[in-house]
């Protein structure tokens, strides 16, 4: 029994939109990071779904790459958040506005 590909796409879109909504509305840096993860995984769902649909393993391979990349990104992101907290005693992304012009 197989699920039609459009449902995967719908799922992926829903996850992506949740992530996007989080990025645009959350102020907590940790939530921010999580939202980004959601968006990345939405992309992963798409990659795997279409790989399965086309009977081609390249998409799954790319999903693996994305996961590795996401891990690295989270490591960097968490590092930034740590430094952020050390300097501003907060993880609110709207507070550190001094790093502009």
């Amino acid at each position: 029994m197989t699920v039609d590909v459009q449902y995967y796409v719908l799922l992926s879109m829903a996850v992506f939109c949740i992530g996007l909504f989080g990025v645009l509305t959350r102020r907590n840096a940790l939530l921010f990071l999580m939202s980004v993860e959601l968006m990345l995984n939405a992309a992963n769902i798409n990659l795997i779904a279409f790989a399965f649909y086309h009977g081609n393993l390249t998409g799954q391979l790319f999903a693996l790459f994305t996961m590795a990349l996401a891990a690295a990104e989270v490591a960097v992101g968490l590092g930034i958040i740590l430094v952020l907290y050390r300097n501003f005693h907060d993880v609110d992304v709207t507070v550190p506005t001094t790093m502009r012009w």
Partner: protein, 682 residues
């Protein structure tokens, strides 16, 4: 020495190289040399004279020489007449004209160097190393200018001559007047040279060549263009030749101190008298007239240009002669006489009298060098007093100076049989012959003729005030003695001033039917010559009609008699007024004219007005335009971008959420645009 016999022209570059070496050596080692480098200069100019004489002998033997020494650039360039390449080079042209001029220049330079021993060294001047170095450079530039085989090389050395005279006129740079006179000489001649430079560029662009002689010369090219009836830069060929010729003439008028660019020359008397002798007789001022003679074939193609040269020459001859009448400074009188005499040369060349002009150039070189060196001797005698009213009675105390100076004065005034008479008469005869057919030339002739009277007058006024009568000051009672270094050049030049006129006794030749017009044969290529650069070739090109009163001989004798009579009348007037024991100034008899003459016809005033009232205002307006409009545009560009970016940067809030929103908004916007273009909403 054997090489000199087989290939004399191989040594031609040495003529200019000798003084150049003297310049370098004196500049570097002058302080440690005996007489501060005078001997280096004397040896170098003597060397130049010897080689020049070898050239002269070789040309007499029927040979001429034209060679390119160094080609510094060439390339493809389409000229207006269709020549497709152009080359700029240094080259040497030895023909009768340049060989003659080389001898004159190196001889006068040698004598000036010798005289400097008595004038500069004996007086314990400081800066002699600089003096002799500059003198060497001056001689080098002039000699190289003389043998230049193309217009661009001539221009370069023409400029170098100007630079050297600037340096030498400003030799006593610690005084107030000398640097100012030097700057004036430099600027006025440079103003003329602008036109010259434009002329050189125009000639190069038109004919694709700047050579003086041969098939490849611009003269030949211009002749061909006129014969073909070509149209050059929108003008017919002859008009264009006139325009370019007149542009080059700008440089000539500046250097040869012709109206209205003559104002620098009297001020140039601020330099040492030896320098004045060199500038006036053989180098700086002679360069202008020599250039006209050098490219005479080009001017001969344009009757308009020739008529302008003749008219300016005749006018300047009279104009300057009247100013010389009221001067009190012995050097000032000579300065104005120089302007006037170069006017005669221009008149001679302008009426197509190539031989007459060159003849006068040669004679003038000798007698004017003599007069200036004589004036230098007088200045030594008088302990550096130059006012003639402080002199008087020097005749018996310094007979050598007196008799040589008198020889020069007789030549300048044009009294038979001294050299100036023969050449000035020939100039006036040529002018009269053409003038009888062309009214404009007749006016120029009339002015030249009247100037003869003034010349006789001011020359002998100078002689009488300086040497005759009773001494009018203590220094005139007890003059300083002069040494051999002063006397020898005076004696050499005195002899030349008396006899050099016999080179071309045209009236005698015509009267007695003898072949003794040697200079005419010389310039006409009876010995060596380059085709096209002969008197005959020029004479055929010049379009002027000639007519005579009675026969040619009658006209010649009439003209000679007239000018001699006027010269004697002038001299006699001076004799009555000033050859008395206690002469008075007689200036009140001139009335208002005295003030005008004393102020040099307000020439300086109007030129200063032109500079300050017109040029300066124009420059200020241009400056204002530059400051406001041009700078305004430049500054406005930066102000707008600064202001714009100041507004734009506010987009960066520093809040990550905003960036994310912009990113998303931008992406959606892009998607919509692409979608629209892709036809989603159609």
């Amino acid at each position: 020495m054997a090489a000199i016999a087989t290939d004399p022209f191989g040594f031609a570059p040495a003529i200019a190289v000798f003084p150049l070496v003297a310049f370098v050596v004196t500049l570097v080692f002058g302080t440690y040399m005996p007489k501060k480098g005078a001997f280096a200069g004397i040896i170098a100019t003597a060397g130049s004279l010897v080689v020049s004489l070898v050239m002269f002998a070789a040309v007499t033997g029927g040979e001429t020489h034209q060679t390119t020494l160094y080609e510094w650039t060439n390339g493809a360039a389409q000229s207006a007449t269709g020549v497709e390449t152009i080359a700029f080079s240094f080259g040497i042209l030895i023909d009768p004209l340049s060989a003659l001029m080389l001898v004159i220049v190196s001889l006068v330079a040698l004598l000036v160097h010798v005289f400097s021993l008595g004038y500069m060294n004996a007086e314990g001047e400081t800066g002699l190393r600089r003096y002799y170095a500059e003198l060497g450079l001056f001689t080098f530039s002039m000699l190289a200018f003389v043998f230049a085989d193309n217009l661009l090389m001539a221009f370069m050395f023409f400029e170098l001559v100007g630079l050297c005279s600037y340096l030498l006129i400003g030799f006593w740079f610690r005084t107030e007047s000398a640097p100012s006179a030097a700057k004036k000489a430099f600027l006025v001649t440079r103003f003329g040279d602008y036109f010259f430079l434009v002329g050189v560029v125009a000639i190069a662009a038109t004919f694709g060549t700047v050579g003086f002689a041969g098939e490849e010369s611009f003269v030949t090219a211009a002749e061909t263009a006129i014969d073909d009836g070509a149209t050059l830069f929108g003008f017919d060929a002859e008009t264009w030749v006139t325009i370019t010729g007149l542009l080059v003439l700008g440089g000539v008028l500046g250097k040869s101190a012709q109206f209205p660019f003559h104002t620098w020359l009297p001020d140039a008397m601020e330099g040492p008298t030896t320098v004045s002798a060199l500038i006036h007789a053989a180098t700086m001022v002679a360069a202008g007239v020599y250039l006209v003679a050098r490219m005479f074939g080009y001017y001969a193609l344009s009757p308009t240009a020739l008529a302008i040269i003749a008219f300016v020459g005749g006018f300047t001859a009279l104009f300057a002669a009247t100013m010389a009448v009221v001067k009190d400074d012995i050097k000032q009188v000579l300065a104005y006489s120089t302007i006037s005499q170069y006017g005669y040369m221009m008149l001679g060349l302008g009426v197509g009298g190539y031989v007459a002009g060159v003849f006068h150039l040669m004679n003038h070189a000798f007698f004017k060098a003599l007069l200036f060196l004589g004036a230098g001797a007088v200045i030594i005698l008088m302990h550096h007093e130059q006012d003639m009213w402080e002199m008087g009675g020097l005749k018996d105390k310094a007979p050598v100076v007196y008799y040589t100076f008198l020889a020069g004065a007789l030549a300048l005034a044009g009294i038979v049989p001294f050299s100036g008479f023969w050449s000035k008469d020939e100039v006036l005869f040529d002018a009269l012959a053409v003038g009888l057919a062309e009214p404009v030339i007749l006016a120029a002739y009339a002015m030249g003729l009247i100037a003869v009277f003034f010349t006789g007058f001011y020359t002998f006024r100078m002689v009488f005030l300086t040497f005759h009568g009773e001494p009018r000051s203590d220094t005139a009672e007890e003059p300083h003695a002069v040494g051999w270094a002063v006397k020898v050049p005076l004696l050499v030049l005195g002899t030349l001033a008396a006899v050099v006129g016999f080179a071309n006794l045209a009236p005698v030749a015509s009267l007695l039917d003898l072949d003794i017009t040697f200079l005419e044969f010389w310039l006409d290529g009876e010995y060596g010559s380059i085709e096209g650069l002969t008197y005959h070739a020029y004479h055929e090109t010049v379009a002027f009609e000639e007519s005579y009163i009675g026969s040619e001989t009658t006209t010649m004798l009439l003209s000679a008699g007239l000018s001699l009579g006027l010269a004697l009348a002038g001299a006699f007037t001076a004799h009555t007024l000033y050859n008395v024991p206690e002469p008075s100034r007689h200036t009140q008899k001139l009335g208002g004219a005295y003030r005008v003459l004393k102020s040099n016809y307000y020439q300086d005033e109007y030129q200063v007005w032109l500079a300050e009232g017109f040029t300066l205002q124009l420059a200020r307006a241009a400056d204002r335009f530059d400051q406001t409009v041009i700078d305004g545009v430049v500054n406005g560009t930066s102000t707008i971008s600064l202001f714009g970016s100041d507004r734009m940067k506010r987009l960066q809030t520093g809040i990550v959420t905003n960036y994310a929103a912009l990113l998303v908004g931008g992406f959606i916007g892009l998607l919509l645009v692409l979608g629209y273009l892709g036809g989603w909403f159609a």
